[in-house]
Amino acid sequence: MADLDSLMKLDGAEAAFKFSPSGELIEHKLADGSSLNESALDLLSHVCVANMSIATMQARGWENMTGMQGFYPIEGFTMVGFDWTAVANGEYGVVIPNDKVDYEKAYAALA
């Protein structure tokens, strides 16, 4: 089960956050000196929820049409930004700089 403290222990973690199914930021933690803030994480939460929802529509449509199972249910969404990456899974997310991100460890910590 993910929690903010264990997410903040990921190498390079800038921020960890929890969001509601509709995308509202519920709680968050920021690394010392991080340039992120609560309002940025709130927007990011909505981005993650929106894309997981669209991905779910795509997975359902894809599996119905092709018979190729394995995408549904969508577990996570990652946004690779120019400098940092946000990895979200379920109702938690973590932000890590691109040069330090370990996607597999992040998803394991978010599981």
Binding site: I54, M57, Q58, R60, G61, N64, M65
Partner: protein, 110 residues
């Protein structure tokens, strides 16, 4: 031409944008940058809705979704609605969404 949309009840701002998202003309906001921002948002949102409509048509195999005619995003007090390359911001109280969508549809053909 789109300036006449400002005469409709509840219309707060209106703008016309090019296919690349650049502002052609706009009214109802104090700064040109705000109108340019509305134009870019409407352009980007239009592309996103088009992408989603394309997928809906692809997955449902039902005609009638594409090409999308327009979109409305409705908040508690304000809504943004767009048809073609014309977008407007409206006050939900005192405006008729039906009338505005009809007028937007006509304006998008000008």
């Amino acid at each position: 031409m789109i300036k006449r949309l400002m005469a409709l009840d509840g219309v707060m701002a209106v703008c016309h944008f090019r296919d690349d998202g650049m502002l052609v003309e706009g009214y109802g906001m104090p700064q040109q940058e705000m109108l340019a921002g509305l134009a870019k948002f409407a352009h980007d949102y239009k592309r996103m809705v088009q992408g989603n409509a394309d997928q809906l048509a692809m997955f449902t195999q039902v005609n009638g979704w594409t090409p999308p005619g327009g979109w409305v995003v409705r908040g508690p007090k304000t809504a943004v609605c767009s048809v073609g390359n014309v977008v407007c911001v409206i006050d939900n109280n005192g405006s008729s969404l039906n009338e505005i969508m009809q007028q937007l549809t006509e304006a998008s053909r000008w």
